[in-house]
Amino acid sequence: MDIDISPILESWRFLLSGLEITLLLSLLTVFCSLLLGTAVGLARCYGPAWLRVPLVFYIDSMRAVPVLVVLVWTYFALPIGTGLSLPPFWAALAALSLHIAAYVAEIIRAGVSSVRPGQTRAALALGMSRAQLIREIILPQAIVRMLPAFGSILSITIKDTAIATVIAVPEYMNHSQTLAGQSFRPIEVFVLAAIVYFIILFPITRGVDMLYRRVAHLGRS
Amino acid sequence: MRDATPVLTYHDVRKLFGNFVALDGVSMEVSRREVICLIGPSGSGKSTLLRCTNGLELLHGGEIRLDGIPLPRDPRGMRAVRQRMGMVFQSFELFPHRTALANVMSGPVTVLGLSRRDAEARAMALLHKVGLADKAASYPANLSGGQQQRVAIARALAMEPEVMLFDEPTSALDPETIGEVLNVMKQLAEEGMTMIVVTHEMTFARRVAHRVVVFERGQIIEQGPPAQIFDAPLVDRTRSFLNHLGWAA
């Protein structure tokens, strides 16, 4: 088996541009999904009952449907259904954010419900409003427990951006495939891709593991 | 009544946990059919000595001999030794996924290779002995602490050990249930079992033990019959330890 990395050396700029898109898409997705997911999560926990039902439906639906399906539907079917036609990058951003926001909402719910109910009773007994209760008592305690899960959101997002290749988003996976096809050197290109993704993801995963260990220290009551 | 032959000898036993000296040159002998109670402040080495006896901890110095033969260090040899000793833990450690009967059968079936029928017969007899025959089909979660500990004693006895090691058997029990466990232990003693008991139950030690061994900071500071230790200790530190517990000497 002969190894020839010259195509990689020639096209490193091409690969790099793909990597830039991967990182950009990942960061924007994390930002949007955190925003949307937090809003949905808090609304689901503390909002009026009529809002809870559709929100739970949205969250559970995203748990049921694969990312690939949401991506493909957003890019190909949405324009037909609503006339709204998004370019690949923005379709991917919308689809990924929508999908991952559901996870964020679940993390919020788990974090909030992990705070002992007695805390809520005590705060309300003191005369605090609901908003004060959430802001000063619940969230500070919940955030610590939620931190590790939030860390894994970043990791999941970066991995999911690779799926966006199927709707021709010019991210790293997509550019790797193109290069592999043109150069007939799939092994070299994909091994490099594995190395690149690993280098990016490993520190994040390690960091999250360490966070989990620190937080487990706080434990339950 | 008591055999003169020592079944266990401890010679200058030393054990470290990192920099902490848990056992600092402990020497003593245990004869067959003897009931020994180890008492002393927390961290004085009593439990550590017990766990060295059945190889759950390894020694850093000195020697422990069972029937004159030093304890082996290889896993196979250690397993053979453990079959001759039974251990009862402070936290009972019943297997929660098995019924009381299945717990008691665990040793005979898995280690001794008895048929299920023979193991079951043996187990039922032992549950009967500790007064829990009617709880044979119950899971540990549905048993009180005292009941769990009695099942644990039956489980250890099912291996027909020569020596029974008790590591603070009643420390985790409610006061109401301590008595039922101590009664079982008293009965075992009367039947002639060789027992080494780490305990804070001074009344039990006074009534049942043949010899009481007082530990402090990894060393034995005094040992002797209960009458001596509780009524007329020879060593001042023994007296102050017992006073501290409210036991005037």
Binding site: V65, V67, V70, K159, T161, V166, P186, A194 | R79, G107
Partner: protein
């Protein structure tokens, strides 16, 4: 613009076949990845530095690669590296099994480690060997603990089978998109695809919730 939903019913048979292949893929993957995960966890917890390190490296590798990359890489590299021609189904299965084994290994490792030390000691004190203690006392209890996590992993796996469509495995996603290409009924087919995944996945997600409530840590 006019929608024609009859295209979905016309191809119901194909879609059913695709669904069956999705289920088969998921079941076979788990059948490989559960024992795989247990073996990796036991290696990780073994005393041997070499075995433990190898297991940890395997797990670290596959937890930190996008699954779609593993699938493509398996598709291109396996034939060249092993000089064997696998079917796309087998290739997809291998990629999925490697990926899920890595996650399961962490799940089992954490589950085993969460069993109190005293349980192992009680087993050893009875004279059991380390392997007997693991088999009779530790693993049965750990299995109870890991059940909710495994269920969660299953639901993720079920969704991830859609990714093997990129190497032309005829599961649900591939089938639906093929029919879309052939009939040009994009919205209908893609919506049907989403709806079928939803119909299968929603109850599974609810089952996971129920399992979490039932077997959640009750120390």
């Amino acid at each position: 613009m006019k929608l024609d939903w009859s295209v979905v019913t016309a191809h119901a048979g194909d879609l059913a076949q695709g669904t069956a292949l999705t289920v088969l893929m998921a079941v076979l993957t788990m059948a490989l990845a559960v024992p795989g995960g247990i073996i990796l966890a036991l290696l990780r917890l073994s005393g041997s530095r070499v075995l433990s390190g190898l297991s940890a490296s395997f797990t670290d590798l596959f937890r930190n690669l996008p699954l779609i990359l593993v699938i493509y890489a398996a598709y291109y590299i396996l034939p060249l590296a092993l000089d064997l021609q696998f079917s796309p189904f087998t290739t997809g299965l291998i990629a999925l099994a490697l990926n899920v084994s890595a996650y399961n290994s962490e799940t089992f490792r954490a589950g085993i480690a969460s069993i109190r030390r005293g349980q192992g000691e009680a087993a050893l004190a009875l004279g059991m060997s380390r392997w007997q203690a693991m088999r009779e006392v530790i693993l049965p209890q750990a299995t109870r603990r890991v059940l909710p996590v495994l269920a969660s992993t299953w639901v993720s796996l079920f969704k991830d089978t859609s990714l093997v469509s990129v190497i032309s495995v005829g599961e649900l996603a591939y089938t639906a998109m093929r029919i879309r290409s052939q009939t040009f009924r994009v919205l209908e087919m893609l919506t049907a695809m989403a709806a079928i995944y939803w119909a299968l996945g929603y109850p599974q997600a609810k089952l996971v919730d129920w399992l979490n409530r039932k077997y959640g840590i009750t120390e």
